[in-house]
């Protein structure tokens, strides 16, 4: 077998392993779905009337883009914990003693977790539709929005993987994988418009990758009110390009970092 074919075959095997593990833990799928539904309902009901959307749109519609992005971003905590868990159980020792591809363990992990993110995204979309969220764009754009969410989820999972391989225990991974996601998602346009933030905070939120992806998803779903004028920042005026660029940057940094960490991780 050529190196590439071997690498693909190993990635397939590890993806199969992780998806099988997931299938055998239906409770974790269940709670993932419950969490997605809960987020949509809480934000839509609690914040529903409290926030004015620039241009006078419907908050539930405005909100859904933010909820989608926040939830897929949070999936990276799952990856983080799973990585730390495999590391602590000696599973990686077994893998690293096999003549398999070095990158397959991480690739297989992230592919399986992106599938999990797909399930939670579907749960959110259905709940959203039930509470009044609708798309107002061409089918291709809707497909594009989900594809962008998948790409962003995938990039974020690699950050989770790097953190999971860097911490010393599963307990630490549970906190370390999650804690930075709160400022990241809240310092963005996910739940409130950029315009409502203090002036000094606006550029930070504008250049936050979350904001680009949220803006892109809203745009692609047609969830922005007609005549909406994006704030005067490049990533928000070209959100799709900025989102793809951000994902590329995250992957370019964290994929090699993750593989290097994996090689060294078990030697701690």
């Amino acid at each position: 077998m050529s190196d590439l074919a071997q690498s693909l075959s190993d990635t397939g095997t590890i993806t199969w392993r992780n998806i099988t593990r997931l299938r055998r833990q239906p409770d974790s799928i269940f709670f993932g779905i419950v969490q997605s539904i809960m987020f949509v309902l809480l934000f839509a009901v609690v914040f529903g009337g409290a926030i004015n959307v620039p241009g006078g749109g419907d908050y539930t519609e405005y909100l859904m883009g933010g909820i989608f992005v926040q939830t897929v971003a949070f999936t990276c905590a799952t990856t983080c914990i799973a990585m730390a868990d495999d590391l602590s159980r000696g599973v990686f020792d077994r893998f690293r003693s096999l003549p398999m591809s070095r990158s397959a363990v991480l690739a297989g992990r992230t592919f399986a977790d992106v599938a999990f993110a797909g399930i939670t995204t579907a749960a959110m979309a259905i709940t959203g539709l039930l509470v009044g969220w609708r798309t107002h764009s061409a089918v291709l754009e809707v497909v594009g929005a989900f594809a962008l969410l998948a790409l962003f989820a995938y990039a974020m999972l690699w950050i989770g993987a790097v953190i999971g391989l860097s911490v010393r225990s599963v307990e630490v991974a549970q906190t370390a994988g999650l804690i930075w996601l709160f400022p990241l998602t809240f310092l963005s346009n996910a739940f409130v418009p950029l315009e409502s933030m203090p002036g000094w905070l606006q550029p930070i939120a504008a250049w936050n990758p979350i904001s680009s992806v949220v803006a892109a998803v809203r745009d692609l779903f047609g969830n922005l009110p007609p005549g909406y004028v994006p704030p005067d920042y490049w990533p928000l005026q070209h959100p799709v390009q900025a989102s793809v660029l951000w994902c590329a940057v995250i992957l370019a940094v964290f994929v090699p970092l993750g593989i290097a960490r994996y090689r060294r991780a078990a030697s701690r």
Binding site: S9, V91, R94, S97, P99
Partner: protein, 353 residues
């Protein structure tokens, strides 16, 4: 080769082994781990050699460096100095080739809990790039051989400790590698599972597989290993067959159990008769004295203890055990190390990972 076979000349069986090549070699392995209190030299110049088709037992207490040695030989860890080969291939220059010829079963039993026993073995077969048909056949074969066929399609989390270890060991054998590394294969197992696993390992050796086994149990090394390297604080402090090591200690052991309160007195009496330091275990009131001179010493001891007014509850002679060897070589017992010297144990425990 020379190091391990010195003094084996008279043994014809060993001579035949000498003609075979070394499946595993290590020269001057050094590994230093940083720790809060400076550095821990987990390995401090270790040389090893395992003849093809034989079993080398790496015997030592927790933190001796056994696991570190195995991790280097199985390409999981790079040494700070020294070199090692497996099946003639250097572990540093071509780790992937080394991985194709080894199987590793670690002390943590790296079994995937949510996969069934069969799925665990299939996964490993695929990762060795066996065809899926071949992987399937091999998995069934191993499940039968390891008495797991009845539980083959149950998730491994329902398995007992002994079953997990067997599955982990089966995982190491999927690709029929010529060299197997077993890192403390029976640590934490109940006696029955332990004996079951010994039988499996013996069966493995009878098919010509080379085995490097680490253990902190003297009886295990005694039972399974053709030759033993005693490791303490990152160094090999003795090597040879079990019999050679026992002969190295010399003589016999006089074992005496006395009434409470008389241990000190008995120690003094035996000290005069012994050929070396007397080992005293306060809580069992048992004293072990190395002696030479056969049964005459036994009579002398009974008389001397009687004259000193010591009530002897039990007295007898036995051949030295590997524990005696360890005690003589290191000044401490092999298996009683867990509780003692907390600071040193903590540092070395870290190094043993």
């Amino acid at each position: 080769m020379a190091r391990l076979t010195d003094g084996w000349g008279a043994d014809v069986g060993r001579l035949r082994l000498d003609a075979r090549m070394a499946a595993v070699t290590a020269e001057g392995l050094v590994k230093v781990f940083p720790s809060r209190s400076g550095e821990v030299r987990a390995l401090d110049g270790v040389d090893l050699e395992v003849t093809e088709g034989s079993v080398l037992g790496l015997l030592g207490p927790n933190g001796a460096g056994k696991t570190t040695a195995v991790r280097i030989l199985t390409t999981l860890l790079a040494p700070d100095a020294g070199r090692a080969t497996v099946n003639g291939v250097d572990v540093a220059s071509d780790p992937q080739a080394v991985r194709r010829s080894i199987g590793l079963s670690g002390q943590y039993a790296a079994v995937d809990e949510y996969l069934t026993g069969r799925e665990n073995l299939l996964m490993i077969g695929r990762l060795y790039h066996m065809g899926s048909g071949a992987a399937r056949t091999r998995a069934t074969e191993l499940l039968e051989q390891f008495d797991l066929i009845g539980a083959a399609d149950r998730p491994a989390k329902t398995y007992s400790g002994g079953m997990r270890r067997r599955l982990d060991l089966a995982g190491a054998l999927v690709a029929r590698p010529p060299v197997i590394f077993l890192d403390e294969p029976t640590t934490g197992l109940d006696p029955r599972s332990r004996i079951g696993l010994w039988e499996v390992i013996e069966g493995l050796v009878s098919t010509g597989t080379t085995v490097l086994l680490t253990t902190q149990y003297l009886d295990e090394a005694d039972k399974l290993a053709d030759s033993i390297a005693v490791v303490d604080r990152g160094r090999v402090i003795a090597r040879g067959t079990s019999d050679e090591l026992k002969a190295q200690v010399g003589g016999e052991r006089l074992v005496v159990t006395v009434e409470p309160g008389q241990v000190g007195q008995a120690g003094e009496v035996l000290g005069r008769l012994a050929a070396g330091p007397v080992d005293v275990e306060e809580h069992t009131r048992q004293l072990v004295a190395p002696v030479s001179g056969g049964s005459a010493v036994l009579l002398d001891a009974v008389r001397a203890l009687d004259e000193a007014g010591v009530t002897v509850l039990d007295i007898g002679m036995r051949r030295p055990t590997l524990d005696d060897v360890f005690l003589q070589l290191t000044g401490h017992h092999a298996e009683a190390d867990q509780g003692g010297a907390p600071a040193a144990a903590a540092g070395q425990g870290g190094a043993d990972r």
